[in-house]
């Protein structure tokens, strides 16, 4: 019983419920009106329509789970990583649940703030940047399966693997964001944001290739591009153990991809005021901030799916819970490094990318090739 | 060390030359005296390690160069401009780290033409201090690389530290 089946059944039951009232209404009305009602009823209960609505519901569920996790990430970050700063973290808002409502309060505040576009800003670019940034991040969500039965699937048979090359598509969507940062930086007509945008482009060049090489080594071992097969291949041993070097490189590249502290160049407070988000305010800025944490969640999910054996765990917990626990652990690890390290310079990040991460990624690929030829996987 | 009287300093020095040679302050005074006999008028040893000397306006550049190169005063600490009733006084505090000495070089200029040679070519640190004296007190430092206002807006007309400037209370 995978997610699609569940949604299909739900929608089917709902349509039937509505239809029997709908048809009786159709009979009661004059003839030419009644035919219209029956046609609509037949269409609603047709397999195609219910399947489409089921997929929409699936995506909705996945997004809601992601958003709740993002709120949890923000709260976890400010509350317990805040203890690293020796202070309480959010305390008064939502007093009994440890200040969890603080994030909602911040969101509400950003909702009511006015959205201003700078006078000489390039309107289209200024408007499109958040759209691309947020859109591409949410798209990447759809391809990541949270459990054997819990993925965005299109048919009910248990053996289906959802989107075919889901890992490839996920990384493709994941890598669109730096372009939107460039557009945002360029279009807000401000020297600081321009430099912020340029830096994000420069930063992308340095970590994109090592990241994809490590992912390639995982594809090599798993023998397929889909998340399902990768996670199934990790049934007996997680890829993180043989490819430990790959795991480390992947996490470092992830920090660079998601612009977390050591590689926080595009949004460097000290030099560039607020980096590329300087000119955005109101809910646009809220979207940017929320999406940067969402990308942290997606990064954590990718790392668990590729290296930490997805939803494989001792079993007394359902699959998605295991998946989320591992994602949280990866996120906490990145946040821990985030708060205890200063920012790196632009040329240094290029050096790290080319001189440190790339050799490690290639070494990791060789290890993968060795393991593959030795036939262990 | 008894402070020098107002009598002519030249003959006073010859009498007590040998005994006093090791005291660093005296060595500075004697060296200054030898090189600028006419220019150096009133000089005395204020306290341990601080020497005051008055010098003519036109000898300032030569004196500073001499003091920095031969006497080893590496650090120009401060340039201050003081407005008295009949004259402006520009006081250079020059320090020597190696000999632990501070030389207070004072030049005075007539009230109507407060201009002195700039020493920013000798010490780089003097550049901004001279601009500040020009800005606040109106002392013109000739052949200064960029003599313009530093603290006040560029188009400000007055020199606020002058006594006749009654801006605030």
């Amino acid at each position: 019983m995978n997610l699609f089946e569940f949604c299909y059944g739900l929608i089917h039951w709902l349509v039937d419920l509505v239809n029997n009232i709908w048809y009786r209404l159709g009979d009661w009305l004059p003839w030419w009106f009644g035919d219209f009602f029956t046609a609509v009823g037949d269409f609603a209960s047709s397999h195609g329509h219910i399947a489409v609505m089921a997929i929409l519901l699936e995506v909705l569920i996945i997004i809601i789970i992601a958003l709740i996790n993002v709120l949890n990430f923000i709260w976890l970050d400010r509350k317990y990583m805040g203890r690293m700063f020796d202070f309480y973290g959010p305390y008064y808002v939502g007093y009994r649940i440890g200040g969890w409502l603080q994030n909602l309060a911040d969101g509400m505040k950003l909702f009511v703030k006015e959205i201003i576009t700078p006078a000489k800003a390039d309107r289209i670019g200024f408007f499109l940047a958040p759209v691309i940034f947020v859109g591409s991040s949410f798209l990447a969500l759809a391809t990541i399966p949270l459990g054997r039965q819990f993925y965005v699937g299109t048919n009910a048979d248990p053996l289906s693997t959802g989107v075919e090359a889901s890992a490839l598509i996920a990384f493709a969507f994941f890598a669109i964001a730096p372009f939107s940062i460039l557009i945002a930086g360029w279009s807000s007509n401000n020297k600081y944001t321009l430099i912020g945008g340029m830096r994000s482009a420069a930063q992308m060049m340095s970590y994109e290739i090592p990241m994809l090489l490590t992912v390639a080594s995982v594809f090599l071992l798993a023998g397929s591009f889909g998340f399902m097969d990768i996670v199934d291949a990790q049934h007996d041993i997680w890829f993180g153990i043989p490819l430990f070097l790959g795991l480390v490189t992947f996490i470092v590249c992830l920090a660079a991809e998601v612009e977390i502290q050591p590689f926080d160049l595009p949004e460097a407070e000290a030099e560039l005021v607020e980096g590329w988000t300087t000119e955005y305010c109101g809910m646009r800025f809220g979207l940017f901030m929320m999406t940067s944490y969402l990308r942290g969640y997606i990064g954590g999910a990718l790392a668990t799916a590729l290296f930490l054996g997805g939803w494989h765990g001792p079993g007394f917990l359902p699959d998605p819970i295991w998946f989320l626990i591992k994602a949280y652990i990866v996120f906490v690890l990145i946040e821990w490094a985030r708060w205890s390290l200063p920012r790196v310079r632009v040329d240094q990040i290029l050096n790290i990318g080319w001189k440190r991460l790339l050799p490690m990624a290639i070494l990791n690929l060789m290890v993968a090739v060795l393991l593959k030829t030795a036939g262990w996987f | 060390m008894a402070a020098r009287g107002k009598g002519s300093p030249a003959e006073g020095m010859e009498r007590a030359l040998s005994k006093v040679d090791d005291v660093p302050e005296e060595r500075v005074i004697r060296a200054l005296l030898d090189n600028f006999p006419t220019a150096v008028t009133d000089f005395k040893k204020l306290s341990k390690g601080v020497v005051r000397a008055r010098i003519e306006r036109r000898d300032i550049h030569k004196a500073c160069l001499f003091v920095r190169d031969t006497l080893g005063f590496e650090h120009l600490s401060m340039i201050s401009a003081v407005e008295y009733d009949d004259r402006f006084e520009i006081v250079y505090h020059i320090a020597s780290w190696s000999q632990r000495l501070l030389l207070e070089l004072i030049t005075s200029t007539p009230k109507d033409d407060p201009s002195v040679d700039s020493v920013s070519s000798i010490w780089g640190g003097a550049n901004w201090q001279e601009r500040e004296s020009y800005d606040l007190m109106g002392i013109k430092f000739s052949n200064h690389p960029k003599l313009e206002r530093i603290l006040l807006p560029k188009d400000y007309l007055y020199h606020p530290l002058r006594k006749d400037f009654k801006g605030g209370d």
Binding site: Y80, M81, R83, M84, F85, D86, F87, Y88, Y91, P262, W336, A337, W339, S340, L341, Q348, N351 | -
Partner: protein, 303 residues
């Protein structure tokens, strides 16, 4: 990148800083409370020397205005009040909006009436609400609770009105500290006590038949206050300075032999002149301002 300078242990890349922050999370989460004081709910404990809102002890204060003089921001002013038990008095008020909280007024007060409390929540919605008049500052019991740093001595103080210059006190003083100084063309002499040498043995107070001498608490002052100098020839005996002096250190004494003969042959009242008891003077400059005939000069006091 020339990383030649390998500081001790920076080779561990990012291990040591993360260990440090990790230890902090553990200690703040499980062991001790985190470092923050939840301000509105937990009270900050401030040391007694904290310079917060002022308080004024109406009984000690003599309304001399020294604090108004020394305030760098001119935020104090003297207000005339009508107090039930103290009668017509002048007491200072403070404009907290301009106040610098520098503490000079507390240090210069001759009778240690003004103090700083520990209260710092002075915010308000309107600027004139920040002007605290003397009544808002009044707190007569605060001054006794505070351990005053300035040394207090009980010293004899002369009341010229009662003194008949009988010189008994000069004789009774063991340290010969009291000198009888003749007062110009008043024909009498006045005892001047050198307070720095006086040991406060009270022998002169007992010896004085008219109780003109009286023991009072005198606080040591840190500021050298200006001294009034009296020019007799300008003085017209109007008594404005005697009325203005808060420490009543000025007495109007008749000068015998200066009576004018009136038309109907009777003798008019003799002219008066001011006599200064400089031990009581707190250097507030009010006599200098009150005198219209330049009979008193004080250096450095604004007219």
């Amino acid at each position: 990148m020339a990383q030649k300078k390998k500081a001790k242990g920076s080779g561990g890349l990012i291990i040591r800083p993360m260990m440090r922050s990790g230890k902090q999370v553990v200690s703040s989460l499980f062991k001790g409370m985190p470092n923050t004081i939840l301000y509105p709910y937990q009270i900050l404990d401030l040391p007694p020397t904290y310079r917060g809102k002022h308080t004024l002890d109406f009984k000690r204060c003599i309304g001399c205005g020294n604090c108004v003089e020394i305030c760098p921001n001119d935020c104090m002013w003297l207000e005339k009040l009508d107090d039930p038990e103290l009668g017509k008095i002048e007491r200072p008020g403070v404009d907290m909006g301009r106040c610098l909280f520098c503490g000079f007024c507390v240090e210069v007060c001759p009778t240690v009436a003004l103090h700083h409390t520990v209260e710092f929540e002075l915010a308000d919605y309107r600027r004139d609400k920040l002007k605290y008049g003397p009544k808002d500052l009044r707190d007569d019991k605060f001054a006794d609770k505070v351990k005053e740093e300035r040394t207090k001595q009980r010293l004899p103080v002369l009341d010229m009105a009662k003194c008949t210059s009988c010189e008994k006190c000069a004789g009774a003083c063991p340290e010969m500290v009291i000198a009888m100084m003749p007062v110009e063309n008043v024909g009498r002499s006045k005892p001047e006590i050198n307070l720095s040498k006086c040991t406060g043995c009270e022998k002169c107070v007992i010896a004085c038949p008219e109780k003109a001498l009286e023991m009072k608490d005198i606080y040591e002052s840190y500021f050298e206050m200006p001294e009034p100098k009296f020019a007799l020839k300008n003085c017209t005996g109007c008594g404005a300075c005697a009325r203005a002096c808060p420490a009543d250190a000025i007495y109007m004494m008749e000068m015998p032999g200066t009576e004018k003969v009136l038309k109907d042959g009777k003798k008019g009242k003799p002219k008066k002149r001011a006599v200064f008891v400089l031990e009581k003077c707190v250097g507030c400059g009010r006599c200098f301002r009150a005198c219209k005939f330049e009979a008193i000069e004080m250096s450095g006091v604004r007219k």
